[in-house]
């Protein structure tokens, strides 16, 4: 099983980066843009859908449990 990766890990196929911060900032911008013009309730729903989609993609429930624990710790 691949352990939960908590190191910077964003990248995009076909893209070449000259600055380490660029891929993370690319992702973050897309994330915030996806929420543009939504009400708070709609944003919550979007987040829930997103988590479910990504969780299914990861699939490995061991990894997901680890992520769930870390996410919960900070709340």
């Amino acid at each position: 099983m691949t352990p939960l990766n908590l190191e910077p890990n964003f990248r995009e196929a076909g893209k070449r980066y000259f600055n380490a911060y660029t891929p993370g900032d690319d992702f973050y911008e897309s994330l915030i843009n996806t929420h543009r013009d939504l009400s708070d309730e709609q944003s919550e729903l979007l987040n829930a859908r997103l988590i479910l989609i990504l969780a299914n993609h990861i699939g490995d429930i061991g990894v997901l449990r680890e992520a769930l624990t870390i996410a919960r710790e900070g709340v």
């Binding site: 990766n5 908590l6 070449r16």
Partner: protein, 556 residues
């Protein structure tokens, strides 16, 4: 008045044209003696173009403006021979601390990357930068600065741009072949010419305070998100020269600028931040709003826009003056080739193409920082706070914290002036890349690669041993300097020695340059006058160099 700085007053002399009534004609005029106009003049002068600068004022930048000058700007200033005073007076900082509410979430130490002449950035009040640039310009023949000369109208004909200039003693007219517009964000000339600039204003206000503090306060950059002393907003503190500290308070859109500027409002804010017992004095206070926008094209016929006149960004990440100096870096050599008839007029369109590409990158990065620092919706704020929470324990969270990304030059990878790689190379020195520096030795003296190239095209030839270069290579290298657009050969070698035939030679004693440029014996880089890579090969082929020079000058 500032307590640590006395503004110089530059001398106004009535222009001779006022008395003579004659119309002066010059090859190039720069309007605006801010950092970018001065940079433009110094660049043109290095190209042996005499320059007239017109500025409506007679001193340097007033109050709190630019602070951070990043590595590429410092390297350009080195080429203009003003890098030393800026770096000597400027403050270097390495430690940055990020706070969220009442806790430090993490800190970083930006140890400057070894084997570069200049650090990632230095902090210095903008008026010092301008003072040093004016000083340099004054000592430079063929730069004539006219203070208290305000441009009030601009008319463009096919071969001439005509300016009407207002002075304390009346008006006069001057004609020029080329006009460089560096008249700042409000750009009166942009308005006179009826040109648009598009983008957005950030609906936020910032209180910018410069304060003088006791010397023991650390030279670090501190950034607070939602601190107890200024809830819900952000605060930035960093050090400039003379123990002056810059403090930026985010105020929100509804703040009343007149009210917030008052010392009785500002001092308690700063006290709450520093703790009550620390002594400080207010040096300057202002309220700003910021915008991110640029002109569609930076070129309009014989008129070139540079600096804030052409593009503006929010100051998170310090891209204003830094990117303006990259404009002048890009423009000078192109203007010279076109003026001399050695390149078609289309070369000047690539000034706009390359610099709008860079401006878009700058606008993107500073917009991203602004959106992170001042989230515009509840969802955005929740994500921001989640990132800050995760940053304390997890590297990926730290990488996402965006309190302003350091200004770095654009890699002009899309430029039509590049010749694509035909040979395989690793590393970042791709065609269009701004050159990486490296330590070198010339005639036994330690120096830097970037000080050895620039202002004209160079062919940088990597060799193991300069003494044993074969005659054919030596002839081919020498002949490069005889073209219509000369290419100066420069051999860089692992071993010390001398290249037969008088071709200049530098050493790469520890192989840093070879490593950064992924070079082997025989590798050649064609370098532009603005220290960008134009093309590179694993072996020298004069025909290919010639073709790449043609391409890099729109002569292909």
């Amino acid at each position: 008045m500032l307590k640590t700085y006395t503004y110089p007053k530059f001398e106004y002399t009535p222009p001779p044209e006022l008395a003579s009534g004659k119309t002066l004609r010059v090859p190039a005029i720069v309007v605006g003696a801010g950092p970018v106009g001065l940079g433009a003049a110094l660049d043109l002068q290095l190209q042996e173009i005499p320059v007239l600068i017109l500025d409506e004022d007679d001193t340097v930048s007033i109050g709190s403006r630019g602070v951070c000058y990043a590595k590429r700007a410092l390297e350009i200033l080195d080429r203009y021979r003003v890098g030393d005073p800026v770096c000597d007076k400027g403050v270097s900082w390495n430690v940055g601390r990020t706070f969220f509410r009442d806790q430090e979430v993490y800190n970083f130490n930006l140890v400057p990357e070894a084997d570069h002449h200049r650090p990632g950035m230095v902090n210095l009040q903008q008026y010092y930068l301008e003072e040093y640039m004016v000083d340099k310009a004054d000592k430079t023949p063929h730069i004539d600065i006219r203070w208290k000369n305000k441009v009030v109208s601009v008319t463009q004909g096919e071969k001439t741009v005509t300016l009407k200039v207002e002075t304390p003693d009346g008006f006069y007219t001057v004609e020029t072949d080329w006009l460089v517009v560096a008249d700042g964000a409000r750009s009166p000339i942009r308005h006179m010419m009826g040109l648009e600039i598009e983008g957005k204003i950030f609906m936020d206000r910032f209180l910018i305070a410069d304060v003088v503090m006791a010397a023991d306060f650390p030279a670090e950059r501190w950034f607070w998100f939602d601190p107890p002393f200024h809830p819900g907003q952000s605060v930035l503190l960093h050090k400039q020269a003379d123990n002056v500290f810059r403090i930026d308070f985010q105020l929100g859109w509804d703040a009343d600028p007149e009210e917030e500027r008052k010392p009785e409002k500002v001092i308690p804010r700063i006290k709450a931040m520093l703790g009550d017992d620390r002594e400080f004095e207010l040096e300057w206070v202002s309220i700003y709003t910021f915008q991110c926008r640029r002109m569609g094209s930076f070129r309009h016929g014989r008129v070139m826009f540079v600096g804030d006149a052409a593009h503006q960004v929010s100051p998170f990440g310090a891209r204003g003056a830094n990117s303006g100096l990259q404009d002048t870096d890009n423009l000078g050599w192109k203007l010279k080739l076109v003026m001399d008839g050695k390149a078609p007029d289309a070369l000047l369109d690539t000034y706009s193409a390359e610099r709008t590409f860079a401006a878009d990158e700058n606008i993107m990065n500073s917009t991203r920082s602004t959106d992170f620092i001042t989230p515009k919706s509840k969802a955005s704020k929740t994500f921001r706070n989640a990132v800050l929470g995760l940053a304390k324990d997890h590297a990926f969270g730290r990488a996402l914290v965006n309190s302003g990304r350091l200004s770095v030059p654009a890699f002009l990878t899309e430029s039509a002036l590049n010749s694509a790689d035909a040979d395989a190379f690793a590393g970042r020195m791709v065609p269009g890349a701004p050159m990486d520096d490296a330590p070198v030795i010339e005639n036994g003296d330690d120096g830097w690669l970037l000080d050895k190239v620039g202002n004209q095209f160079f062919a940088l030839y990597f060799a193991d041993d300069p003494n044993t270069l074969d005659g054919k290579t030596i002839d081919a290298l020498s002949n490069l300097s005889f073209g219509n657009i000369p290419v100066q050969p420069l051999v860089i070698s692992k071993n010390p020695g001398t290249v037969p035939g008088g071709i200049p030679n530098i050493e790469d004693p520890r192989g840093v340059a070879s490593q950064r440029y992924d070079a082997k014996h025989g590798t050649v880089y064609l370098l532009r006058p603005d220290q960008h890579v134009a093309a590179r090969w694993r072996a020298l082929d004069p025909a290919k160099v010639k073709a790449a020079v043609a391409r890099a000058t729109c002569n292909a």
